[in-house]
C-alpha cells in the first residue's frame, strides 16, 4: 500500500498526487514510469514519473481523468492509499551532448515534459519550452515550467490564452528565426509528436519522443507495448519509453492505441452509471 501524501487539482480534469514510495523514489530518473493498480479488481496502468524526492521518498504523478482507472485514482484523497505502485520502470532519458534544447509538452504531456526540462536546465542546457493546450482552462504547470526554462511559450488551440495555434507552429517559427536547437523533446498526444517529428526531420534536429502505449506488466513480459522504431519491433516498457521521433512508426502506434477503445468506453460508462446510481 502506497500512501498519497499530497493531492492537488491542476485543472478540472488533471490531478497531481505525491505518493510515498521510497523504493521507487531512490532510483527514479526523468523519462521513467510506474505501474499502478488502484484496487483489487483494477487494471495495471503506466504513469510517467512527473517528479521525485529522494530524501522524502516520494514520487509525483500527474494524470488526467479519462477512463475508469484514472477516475478511481482521482477519487482517492490525501491520506488514502494506492494498492500497488511499482517502479521506476523503463529507461531514463538520455540526452547526449546538448547546448540548446526545445522541450515541447502537449496537454497532459506537459507533466511528462516537465522533469525533462528540469533535468536539462540543471545540466546547464539552454531550454526553450513550448506547452500547448486546447483552451485556457486546461493549462497546467505553467509556473513550474517557467522556472526551469530560459523562455516559455504557451499556446491554446482556441486562442483563449497565450499564442493561438499549435506547439508545432511555434517551434517552426523559433527554428526559422535562427534558434539552433540540437535537441527537441516532444511529449504529448501521438498526433502532436508525429507532427513535431516530421517538422524537425526536415531541419535535421534530433528529437526524442515518449511513447505511452497499452501495457500490462511494464517489465518486458507481455509485449503489448510493441512499437515499431526504425523498422524494428521494440517494447516501450523496457526499450523506451523514449525513442527517436524520426524513427517511430506513429501511424501504427495510433492504430494500436485504439485496440481497447470500445472496452474503455464500456468500463467508463458502467463506472459512471454506478456513481450516478449511488447519488
Amino acid at each position: 500500500m502506497y500512501k498519497i501524501v499530497k493531492k492537488k487539482e491542476l485543472n478540472s480534469d488533471v490531478k497531481l498526487m505525491v505518493v510515498d514510495a521510497p523504493f521507487v523514489a531512490r532510483k527514479a530518473e526523468p523519462g521513467q514510469f510506474v505501474m499502478l493498480r488502484v484496487n483489487e479488481t483494477g487494471e495495471r496502468i503506466p504513469l510517467t514519473i512527473a517528479d521525485y524526492d529522494r530524501e522524502k521518498g516520494t514520487i509525483t504523478i500527474i494524470f488526467q481523468e479519462v477512463g475508469k482507472t484514472t477516475k478511481l485514482l482521482g477519487a482517492l484523497e490525501e491520506g488514502e492509499y494506492i494498492l500497488d505502485f511499482a517502479g521506476p520502470l523503463g529507461k531514463a532519458s538520455h540526452f547526449g551532448e546538448v547546448k540548446k534544447a526545445a522541450v515541447i509538452g502537449g496537454g497532459l504531456g506537459t507533466a511528462i515534459a516537465y522533469p525533462q526540462a528540469k533535468k536539462l536546465n540543471s545540466l546547464g542546457v539552454s531550454v526553450d519550452t513550448i506547452i500547448g493546450f486546447r483552451n485556457k482552462g486546461l493549462i497546467i504547470l505553467e509556473e513550474e515550467m517557467r522556472e526551469v526554462s530560459d523562455r516559455l511559450f504557451v499556446t491554446t488551440d482556441d486562442g483563449s490564452y497565450g499564442i493561438g495555434g499549435f506547439v508545432s507552429d511555434v517551434l517552426k517559427n523559433l527554428i526559422e528565426e535562427g534558434n539552433k536547437y540540437d535537441l527537441v523533446v516532444a511529449i504529448g498526444p501521438l498526433v502532436m509528436m508525429k507532427v513535431v517529428s516530421n517538422l524537425t526531420k526536415e531541419y535535421g534536429i534530433k528529437t526524442i519522443v515518449s511513447m505511452n502505449p497499452v501495457m500490462i506488466d511494464g517489465t518486458g513480459m507481455c509485449g503489448g507495448c510493441r512499437v515499431t522504431v526504425g523498422g524494428k519491433t521494440m517494447f516501450a516498457c523496457v526499450d523506451g519509453p523514449d525513442f527517436d521521433g524520426h524513427q517511430v512508426d506513429f501511424d501504427e502506434a495510433i492504430r494500436r492505441q485504439a485496440m481497447y477503445k470500445d472496452e474503455e468506453k464500456q468500463s467508463l460508462k458502467e463506472h459512471e452509471c454506478k456513481l450516478e446510481g449511488t447519488v
Partner: protein, 468 residues
C-alpha cells in the same frame, strides 16, 4: 493385497462441452475411496524406482502407503518434508516423464497415479486441517530470493526451514510467477496457489511485491542491504515473436500477454474486473507447447467459435503434454499440424482479418533430433481468424542481466550456472529455473531451487568458517 488393476482409477472431470465454457478446474479430484483404491496399486518397491524421477525427492512409496491406510494427514506431512507445493505439483508436473515413468506397474498397464495421489493429499489437508505455522530457530542470516515462481518459492522455503531470514522480491502485485500469470485457473486454481504460497510464508518467508529487481533495487544493492546471498529465479518472461509481417496488427497477442490478462488480471471476469481481453470469433494460436494449449483452451472458454492450434511439425513432435493435447481436442480445439504462418493479414484500420499459412512436410532431423519441417511449394492458404496468439516460446527477461555487472549469461539470455549448485559467475549469486534453462517445467525449476538452497547454505557456512 495390492490392487492389481492394470489401469489407474479414473480421474473425475468436468464434461468437455460444459468445461469449455467455464474457467473452473477441469479435473475435479479423487474422493477418499478413489484415493485409497489407487494407492493400493502401489507395490511399495524396496528400491523405490519412482523416486529417481522426482526432482524434489518426495518419498513416494511412503506417502502412498499412508494414503492406502487412510492416513491422509500423515501422507501430506510426508510429502511436505521435501516439497512445499504439493497441490501445485500434483496438478502440473509431467509425471509421465518423471516419477510415473519409473513405476514398476507401468511395465504392464498404467503406472500408479502418483500425481493424482499427491494432489489428493494436498487438497485433503487444505480442506480438513488448518495450515501449520512452524516454529523454526532463526539464524539471523539474510538471504534474498528474486522472483516468487516455483524456483524462488522452493529455494526460499528450504532456506527458511534451515533457519535463514529469507525475503522474496516479486515484480508483480501478486506472487506466484508463472503459477499466477501463466497457467490458467482451469488447470491450476489460483486460490490454491495462494494457499501454498501462504504455507511458504508460514515458514517465515517474507514476500515483497511490486519490487522489480534491476529497477527498484539491483542485485548488488541487495548485498549492500545485508543479504549474504541472492537466488535469482526470475523465469523466462520475454515473449518471442515470429518476425513475420503483420505481427503488430491489433488482435495479435503474445501468449504471455493473453494469459497474463486472463490469469493475473482475471480478464475472463471483465467487466467485473477492469482488464479486458479481446477474442474474435475465430482464433489461431501458433505453437505446440503447453502454453499454446493453455492459450487455445482459454480462447475457447472466452467464447471463440473456432480455435486453431497452428504448429509446423506433426503431433509426435509437439512439446505439450499428451494429457493437455487430449484435453484440448476434447474441448473442440482444431489442430492444424504441419502448418506454418507466413504473414498476418490486416484490415485498412489495422485489425487482424486472417493468417496466411503454408503447409510443411518433415525432412531430416535437426539439432534437436526432431525432423525439420520444410515448406511445401504452392501450399499457401489463408485461415479466417480475427485473433492471433503467438506461443512459440519465451526467453529470460534481460532486466537482471543488464543491471548486474559480472553476471555471465548465454547468448540467448540464460544465466550460466554450475548445474549441481546453481552458483553463477558471482560467488554469492545463485540462479535456477527458467532463467537458467529457458522455458521448462515447474518441477525442474523447483528442483533447481532446492539444489540452490542447499548450496547457499554450504556457501554461507564455509564463508563463516573462513571469516572465523
Amino acid at each position: 493385497m495390492p490392487n492389481m488393476s492394470l489401469t489407474k482409477v479414473k480421474m473425475p472431470e468436468q464434461n468437455p462441452n460444459e468445461r469449455n465454457k467455464n474457467f473452473k478446474e477441469v479435473a475435479t479430484g479423487y474422493t477418499e475411496e478413489m484415493a485409497i483404491e489407487e494407492a493400493k496399486r502401489c507395490l511399495e518397491c524396496k528400491t523405490k524406482p519412482c523416486m529417481k524421477g522426482c526432482p524434489v525427492n518426495i518419498q513416494i512409496p511412503e506417502f502412498i502407503s499412508l494414503i492406502a491406510e487412510g492416513k491422509f494427514e500423515e501422507a501430506y506431512l510426508k510429502i511436505t518434508e521435501t516439497n512445499s507445493l504439493p497441490a501445485i505439483c500434483g496438478r502440473v508436473c509431467p509425471q509421465e516423464s518423471q516419477c510415473e515413468m519409473y513405476c514398476v506397474r507401468g511395465k504392464k498397464g498404467e503406472p500408479v497415479a502418483i500425481g493424482r495421489l499427491e494432489r489428493f493429499a494436498a487438497d485433503w489437508f487444505m480442506v480438513n486441517r488448518k495450515p501449520k505455522v512452524h516454529k523454526i530457530k532463526k539464524n539471523g542470516i539474510k538471504v534474498a530470493v528474486v522472483g516468487s515462481g516455483p524456483a524462488g518459492l522452493t529455494c526460499a522455503g528450504d532456506l527458511a526451514k534451515m533457519g535463514y531470514d529469507v525475503t522474496i522480491f516479486e515484480a508483480f502485485h501478486t506472487p506466484g510467477g508463472v503459477l499466477t500469470y501463466g497457467i490458467p485457473e482451469f488447470r491450476l486454481p489460483k486460490k490454491l496457489v495462494q494457499a501454498e504460497i501462504d504455507n511458504v510464508r508460514n515458514l517465515g518467508v517474507k514476500i515483497m511485491t511490486n519490487m522489480v529487481i534491476g529497477k527498484s533495487i539491483t542485485v548488488e544493492e541487495l548485498r549492500d542491504e545485508g543479504y549474504e546471498a541472492v537466488f535469482i529465479g526470475s523465469g523466462a518472461g520475454l515473449p518471442s515473436f515470429m518476425g513475420i509481417p503483420g505481427e503488430n496488427l491489433n488482435g495479435v497477442y503474445s501468449a504471455n500477454e493473453f494469459l497474463t490478462r486472463i490469469n493475473l488480471m482475471k480478464a475472463y471476469m471483465y467487466p467485473e474486473v477492469d482488464t479486458p481481453v479481446k477474442v474474435a470469433e475465430n482464433v489461431a494460436v501458433v505453437g505446440g507447447g503447453n502454453v499454446a494449449m493453455d492459450a487455445a483452451r482459454s480462447a475457447k472458454r472466452l467464447g471463440a467459435e473456432k480455435v486453431y492450434i497452428v504448429y509446423r511439425r506433426s503431433e509426435k513432435e509437439m512439446p505439450a503434454r499428451v494429457e493437455e493435447v487430449h484435453h484440448a481436442k476434447e474441448e473442440g480445439i482444431i489442430f492444424k499440424l504441419l502448418t506454418n504462418p507466413t504473414r498476418i493479414l490486416g484490415t485498412d484500420d489495422g485489425w487482424v482479418k486472417g493468417m496466411e499459412c503454408v503447409e510443411m512436410e518433415l525432412g531430416e532431423p535437426d539439432e534437436s533430433g526432431r525432423r525439420r519441417p520444410v515448406p511445401k511449394k504452392g501450399s499457401e492458404h489463408v485461415i479466417d481468424v480475427g485473433t492471433v496468439i503467438i506461443a512459440i516460446g519465451q526467453s529470460p527477461n534481460p532486466l537482471i542481466k543488464s543491471t548486474t555487472p559480472g553476471l555471465e549469461t548465454h547468448k540467448w539470455g540464460g544465466i550460466i550456472t554450475d548445474e549441481e549448485t546453481g552458483v553463477t559467475s558471482i560467488p554469492w549469486v545463485f540462479a535456477g529455473g527458467d532463467v537458467v534453462t529457458g522455458a521448462a517445467t515447474v518441477i525442474l525449476a523447483m528442483g533447481a531451487g532446492k539444489k540452490a538452497a542447499a548450496a547457499i547454505d554450504s556457501y554461507i557456512k564455509q564463508k563463516a568458517e573462513k571469516d572465523d
